[in-house]
């Protein structure tokens, strides 16, 4: 079974939920399709969606909600 990586296109703060009260976009173990939004990156007070870009049976996040991230950092792995 191969692992695919989802990398952040932007530096900033990574959020796993659309708003603080909402449930996460995806939980560990959830299947994803390429078009699924898996998080938001806040950069300089604007918010940008991060799409999975890959499809797979189970996603596993490598960063926590509200973690500071770098551009190109791996946010999650997906079992293909």
């Amino acid at each position: 079974m191969s692992k695919l990586e989802i990398k952040s296109p932007l530096p900033g703060m990574f959020y796993r939920r659309p708003s603080p009260e909402a449930p996460p976009f995806r939980n560990d173990g959830d299947p994803v399709t390429a078009d699924d939004v898996i998080g938001l990156v806040e950069v300089m007070k604007s918010f940008h969606e991060v799409k999975a870009g890959v499809a797979g049976k189970a996603i596993r996040f490598l960063v926590e909600d509200a973690d500071a991230i770098m551009a190109g950092q791996t946010l999650a792995e997906v079992d293909a």
Binding site: P9, L10, P11, G12, M13, L40, V43, M44, K45, S46, F47, H48, E49, A66, A68
Partner: protein, 460 residues
């Protein structure tokens, strides 16, 4: 003056600006900073610097306890809040005073009063300042709503009382549309906000954004004339001028007098800005809101009046009377400010932090560049995208624009995308040069001439 030392509870270019003003008055300066700002210009320039927490603003620049602890440790007399962050938080102003220090700004009570949109509108109306025609608070039903619209005229905005930030707004051009939209808006507002309350406001079409700088020491109140900030993108000002283009002298006099009347009615202490919409066709102006802090665009006022507004704020907070009477304040020439942001105009203004490899700043008569940048500075991703403000002063607007074009050519920020190219094009645009603009001008202009498909979708 009762202030010998001041703590700057802010960051970026305004922190640098406040440090310079405080030093000019001979004050000791203490800069607080987050872990992301340890190498900032403000930290370098201040006499002392104290770390107050992690990069996220709510854990550092919005952390009241950490800021008050730093102020106590440094033994400062006063705290200057800058703009944004805690600058318009009345409870913070009260907490600074309760801790035995001076808050550089109006009282907590004044901040709360003028910060409440409905209360501020009532204060303005009582001081004789015209407000945007509309309903007096919530409208209960369609019959009452129709009666109000008959008085104020179309087009009219139907706004959700619980909405905000542009959400929950519908515009009706006539009674047919209004009768259909009013019940729909109530249903939608109930679904979206859990509150179906609606209010009405007349749409001021092709309005200009003008604002009056005021100063008060609690006894005397003056205006420092107006600024025009009509060039905006997503309600963010991009380019500001002083004075406003094409404002007849008689209108200017009434506009500025109304701002002074409002300041006097609340016994204002400090620097503030009264914002208006100006309808060029009818020469009518309407109150929008009061900002109880220093504004980003304050330098254009400084350039045309010769006042130092930040020094004035510190003097007022230190118990001194206003340094200038109304008769001492006059407009000399014209000034324009361009906000240079770390955003890529070719990619739908995507913010992009990074390292400034090389910085070349313009100099010369009437040119000022307020910035947080230096060679090798790494712009952090955690705060707003403002890198600097290019402010140019000329004998008149044409002279100012000519100097601005030259200054834009000599300003070089290498390493990250910035909005410099946008300003270069704007400074040559025939409509901008002629002063033909309104608050929706820039977004329409961008759609027509500057837009490119975004590679990453912005969601908020």
């Amino acid at each position: 003056m009762n202030i010998r030392s001041v703590l700057i509870a802010n960051r970026g270019e305004i922190a640098v600006r406040i440090i310079k003003a405080a030093k000019a008055l001979g004050l000791r300066t203490v800069q607080v900073y987050s872990q992301a700002d340890a190498k900032s210009l403000a930290v370098r320039l201040a006499d002392e610097a104290i770390e107050i927490g992690p990069p996220a603003a709510r854990k550092s620049y919005l952390n009241v306890d950490a800021i008050l602890a730093a102020a106590a440790a440094a033994g400062v007399d006063a705290i200057h809040p800058g703009y944004g962050f805690l600058s318009e938080n009345g409870d913070f102003a009260d907490a600074v005073v309760a801790a035995g220090m001076i808050f550089v700004g109006p009282s907590g009570a004044a901040i709360r009063l003028l910060g409440d949109k409905v209360a501020a509108r009532q204060v303005a109306a009582m001081a004789g300042v015209p407000t945007v025609p509309g309903s007096d608070g919530r409208v209960l039903d369609l019959i009452e709503a129709r009666a109000i619209v008959s008085k104020i005229g179309f087009p009219v905005m139907i706004k959700a009382a619980a909405g905000g930030g542009g959400r929950g707004i519908r515009i009706a051009q006539d009674f047919d549309e209004f009768d259909r939209q009013f019940p729909q808006a109530a249903t939608e507002a109930t679904a979206a906000f859990g509150d179906g309350g609606l209010y009405l406001e007349k749409v001021i079409e092709r309005a200009r954004h003008v604002e009056v700088q005021i100063l008060g020491d609690g006894t005397n109140f003056v205006h420092c004339f107006e600024r025009e900030c009509s060039l905006q993108r997503r309600r963010q000002k991009v380019w500001e001028e002083a004075p406003a283009v094409g404002l007849p002298a008689g209108v200017r006099e009434k506009l500025c007098a109304s701002a002074v009347a409002l300041a006097r009615s609340v016994g204002y202490r400090g620097a503030g800005t009264v914002e208006y919409l100006y309808d060029e066709a009818t020469q009518a102006f309407y109150f929008i809101e009061v900002n109880t802090r220093i504004q980003v665009e304050h330098p254009v006022t400084e350039m045309v009046t010769g006042l130092d507004l930040v020094q004035e704020m510190l003097r007022i907070a230190g118990g001194l009377p206003l340094s200038a009477g109304q008769d001492d304040i006059a407009i000399r020439g014209h000034a324009i400010e361009c906000r240079i942001n770390a955003e890529d105009p070719d990619r739908n203004f995507m913010p992009w932090p990074g390292v400034v490899e090389k910085l070349e700043t313009p100099s010369g008569d009437g040119v000022r560049f307020d910035t947080l940048l230096f060679d090798g500075y790494e712009v952090p991703p955690f705060y707003d995208s403002l890198l600097g403000k290019l402010i140019v002063h000329g004998a008149n607007r044409a002279d100012c624009l000519a100097r601005l074009r030259a200054a834009l050519r000599s300003l070089k920020i290498v390493g990250i995308p910035t909005t410099l190219p946008l300003h270069t094009v704007l400074a040559l645009d025939p409509d901008v040069v002629a002063g033909r603009f309104h608050t929706r001008f820039l977004e329409q202009w961008l759609e027509a001439r500057f837009a490119a498909p975004a590679s990453v979708k912005e969601v908020v």
